[in-house]
Symmetry: C2
Subunit: 477 residues, 2 copies
C-alpha cells in the first residue's frame, strides 16, 4: 500500500528500492550483490525476452548456449578486454573436490569462449555471416550494487556475430542498436537517445560502442543497451580467419550487443509514481484486474457477475481477479496500484443493475463507465492508450529536461541544479571529457548521429577550441 513507499520527493533512491521490494519484483539474497528476481519481476523480464527474441529472429539470428566457465587464459588474450574485466571476475579454483589446473572464471561476457568456438566453425566465406545470440546469466563482481540496475549476477542476452567485411559488421552493429531503440520505445514506452560512446566509455575490446540512453525521473541517464563494432580484435586474439570468395585469407569481422535485467530497473524508474509500479501494458505481468465490490446481501450476484466478466477478459488479456473479502475494496485498489496493473475493473451492485463496469487507469487515475458487453474492447483500447500516453509523458519529461548549453559555467550550474541532458559542443579530447566529469560528475552519454555537422563553427566548452562534436552530457547510473 501507498504508505509503505517513500515519496520520490523525499528520497528517489529509497522510493526505487521500496517499489522493487513492495511490488515483489525482487528481493535481496544471502549472496552479497546478488538478487532474487521474484515472479512479478521475472514476468516483466519474460515478456521483454519474448519481444526481443522475436525481433532477433525476425532479423535472422539464432540462439545457442556456451559454457558458463571460461579458462582464465582466454580472458587475457585480448589486451583491452582483460584490462576491463580482470578486476570484476569471480574465479572457480576447485571442482569435484580437487584444485583445478587452470582457474576458470565465471563469464562476465562471452566474447572469448565464443570466438574460441568460431575458430572451429568458420573456414570459408560460405560460413558467414554467423548470427548467434545467447540468453544467459553473467557475473561481474561489483562493489556497490542496486537491485536490477547493478548486480553481481545478472541475466542478459549477448549477440555475437561474425562477418566477411568491416562494412557488414558495422551495419549489424547499427541494425541491433535500432532493434534496441524500437524495443525500448515500442514495448517499454521509454524514449531513448542513440549514438556513439566516446573512447573513455566504450566496451573493453570494442573499436566502437553504441548505446541507447534513457532519462530516469531523477533526470539521470541510464545506459540501457549497447552494441559494439569489434573490428577484428577478437578474430585476431583467437586467430579466426576465413577464405574469402576471391581465395585469400582474412580475419573475420565482428559485432556484439546486449541488454540485461537492468531494463527492468529502467522500466520501473521511467514510469512509476509514489503509489508504486507503473508498468507499460505490453510488458505488464498483469494487464487488467477485476475487483468486485459487494455487501453480504448481494455477494453471490456480484461475484457471479464479476467472475463472468473476468473470464471474458482472461481470454484476451493477462488478467487477474480479486474477490477476496478479507480486505476492503479501497485496500485492494491500493494494493493493485502498487503492483502496477494498468487497468482496474470495478464492478458493484449499481454496475450490475446498469449492465456497466468501471475502468480505472493506473497511470492517471481516471475512471470511466462502460457497457459490460463492450468491456473487453474498451480495455483493449485503454491499454493501447496507456501505452502511448506513457511514452508521450516520458518523452515530454526528457525534452523539458534537455538543454543545449554552449557555456561551461552554465553547464556546471545546470548539473549543480536539477540537471538533465545537456547537449554541448566538445572538442573531442579525452582531457576535457575527464575535466567535465571531475567537476560536474556528468559524463558524455552519447555522440548522436550527425553531431559533427551540428558542431561545425561552434566553440567547445572548457577548452574554447573549435568544437568537433555536439555531445550529450548527463549524470548517469
Amino acid at each position: 500500500m501507498a504508505e509503505r513507499i517513500t515519496p520520490r520527493s523525499e528520497s528517489y533512491s529509497d522510493w526505487y528500492v521500496d517499489i522493487v521490494l513492495q511490488a515483489k519484483l525482487a528481493d535481496y539474497s544471502p549472496v552479497k550483490g546478488c538478487m532474487v528476481i521474484r515472479p512479478r519481476g521475472y514476468a516483466l523480464w519474460e515478456h521483454m525476452q519474448r519481444a526481443i527474441d522475436d525481433m532477433f529472429k525476425a532479423t535472422g539470428h539464432v540462439n545457442a548456449y556456451f559454457p558458463l566457465l571460461i579458462p582464465e587464459s582466454f580472458i587475457q588474450r585480448e589486451a583491452d578486454h582483460v584490462e576491463g574485466f580482470a578486476p570484476e571476475l569471480a574465479v572457480v579454483t576447485h571442482g569435484g573436490g580437487e584444485q583445478l589446473e587452470e582457474p576458470l572464471v565465471v563469464r562476465p561476457t562471452s566474447e572469448t569462449i565464443i570466438w574460441s568456438m568460431y575458430k572451429k566453425w568458420i573456414q570459408s566465406y560460405r560460413d558467414l555471416p554467423l548470427l548467434i545470440n545467447q540468453w544467459a546469466n553473467v557475473m561481474r563482481w561489483e562493489k556497490r550494487t542496486r537491485l536490477f540496475l547493478r548486480t553481481t549476477e545478472f541475466l542478459w542476452q549477448e549477440g555475437h556475430t561474425a562477418h566477411a567485411t568491416a562494412e557488414e559488421a558495422r551495419e549489424e552493429t547499427l541494425r541491433m542498436l535500432e532493434v534496441y531503440r524500437r524495443f525500448a520505445e515500442d514495448y517499454m514506452a521509454m524514449p531513448v537517445l542513440t549514438g556513439l560512446k566516446t573512447d573513455a566509455e566504450k566496451f573493453a575490446g570494442a573499436v566502437e560502442t553504441y548505446s541507447i540512453e534513457a532519462m530516469m525521473q531523477d533526470r539521470r541517464a541510464l545506459q540501457s543497451g549497447t552494441s559494439h563494432f569489434l573490428g577484428q580484435n577478437f578474430a585476431k586474439a583467437f586467430d579466426v580467419t576465413f577464405q574469402t570468395a576471391e581465395g585469400s585469407l582474412d580475419h573475420v569481422w565482428a559485432s556484439s550487443w546486449g541488454v540485461s535485467t537492468r531494463l527492468v530497473g529502467a522500466l520501473i524508474m521511467t514510469h512509476s509514481d509514489d503509489k508504486g509500479l507503473v508498468a507499460p501494458p505490453r510488458l505488464a505481468p498483469t494487464q487488467v484486474v477485476t475487483i468486485p465490490i459487494f455487501k453480504n446481501k448481494n455477494k453471490t450476484e456480484v461475484l457471479a457477475y464479476a467472475d463472468k466478466l473476468h473470464r471474458r477478459l482472461a481470454e484476451r488479456f493477462r488478467a487477474e481477479y480479486d474477490p477476496d473479502d478479507a480486505n476492503s475494496p479501497g485496500w485492494k485498489f491500493s494494493e493493485w496500484e502498487m503492483l502496477g496493473v494498468p487497468v482496474r475493473v470495478e464492478v458493484g451492485p449499481r454496475d450490475m443493475e446498469n449492465n456497466t463496469v468501471v475502468l480505472a487507469r493506473r497511470d492517471t487515475g481516471e475512471k470511466q463507465s462502460v457497457d459490460v458487453e463492450e468491456a473487453p474492447e474498451a480495455v483493449a483500447a485503454l491499454l493501447e492508450e496507456i501505452q502511448s500516453s506513457l511514452f508521450a509523458r516520458a518523452k515530454a519529461f526528457r525534452e523539458e529536461n534537455t538543454r543545449e548549453i554552449d557555456d561551461y559555467d552554465e553547464l556546471k550550474a545546470f548539473f549543480e541544479a536539477d540537471g538533465g541532458f545537456a547537449i554541448a559542443p566538445w572538442d573531442g579530447s579525452p582531457e576535457t571529457e575527464a575535466q567535465v566529469k571531475e567537476e560536474t560528475k556528468a559524463t558524455i552519454r552519447v555522440l548522436p548521429e550527425g553531431n559533427e555537422k551540428q558542431a561545425e563553427g561552434r566553440t567547445a566548452i572548457v577548452s574554447g577550441k573549435p568544437a568537433r562534436h555536439m555531445a550529450v552530457f548527463a549524470k548517469a547510473y
Copy 2:
C-alpha cells in the same frame, strides 16, 4: 552425409556422438566436461522449453530466478543433500580480486538457496501454496561426460513448491510427474514408464523420488525427468514454518522437480537412424525443407515455382529452402536427412508441369506426390502422421524388449544378451538390489504404480523371499 555417421550396429555410442556433432546439435568446448549447444540443438531445447513452460503455467506455476552462487554452508544444512552433492561441486573462492570469506558453490540444484528465501516469504497458510519454477544453468562436476546426456554444466528447469500439508505436496509431486509424462509422450514421441525410485536411487534430500524412464535404441534406460516429495526436510533445515488456518505453527511441506537438456539426448537416441537425426515434428527445429531440382535450361522457372511454394509453407511451418546449386539434389537430400527435418518437399520440372510436388518422409523414406495447391494441408497431415508413427514405433520397440522375468538366472542371461526392461519380483531389500546391480549392471529404474498388488503371492528373485514389489530392472545411462 550418411557416410560420416558410424552405423548403430558398429558402435552405438560412436553413432550417437556422430549425430550430435554432424547434425550440429552440440560441440565439445575448451572447458572440460562442458559442451556448446549449437543453434540446431538449442532450437530443440527452445521448443521443449516453450511446451513445458506452457504446461507449467497451465497448472498454476510462475517463474523466478535465484542466485547462481550458494554459500557453501547452505549445502551442508540438509544431511543427505550435502552427502549427495559435495563430491560434485564447483567452488568459487575468489571474487573481484580478493579471496572470499566464505566459499560459494555454483548451484548443483537450488533447494537450499530457494528455501532460505522461502523463510522470508512464508509466514501464514495464506502464503501457500507457493508454486515457483526456475529455468537455469546448473553445474555438477562429472568425471565421465557425454554430450547432452551427462555434462558438467547443463540447462534445466527446477520447480520448488511449498505446501500446507503433506498430502498437497504429494499431489503436486505426482501432478508434475504426469506433466513430464505427457510432455515426453505428446511432444518428444517418447514413451516413458513412471514410478517410484528405490531409496538407493532417490534424490539426495528427498523422502520419495518419482521418475520418467525411457528405453533408448540400445535397450538401456534413460532417466528423463524426476519429481521429488521432499517432506519437511528442507523446511526443517531452513526453519521455514507457517501459521496454519487453525493458528498453530507447522513446518512447510515441499516438492521439487526437474528436466534438463538431457532430454535432447533422449530425443536423439529414441528416434534417430544411421542417416542422422530423426526429430519429432512438434519439436523439430525445421519441420519442412523445400528442395528445387533443376537444370540450367529450366532453372528460373523451377526456382520461381519452388520459392513460391516455400513461402506458403513458411507461413504455417518452421520451413527452410535450399536452392543452392553448388551441391547436387542427392547430396542435399542426405544433408537434410542428417539434420532430421521430418518432411522434404522436392519440386522439379515434371512436378511443375503437373502442378504437383513430392513429399518425402524422413522417418520411413516414403514418398508421395500431391497437388501443389494442397501441399500445405498435406504437409500438416504428414507431420501429424510422423509424430504419432514415431511414438508408436518407439512404444512397440519398448514392448518387444520388455520381459517379465521370475527367475534370477534368466534375469542374468537377459542382461548378458541384448537386455531391455525386465519386470521382476523383488523383496524390497537394499541388499538384493545391490547384488543384482553388482552381478548384472542393471538397476531398479522404477516401481510402477500398483506394483505391490501385482507382486502378491510371487517369489522374489535372488532371495527367494515373498516379493513385495514388481520392479523394472534395466541397465541405465
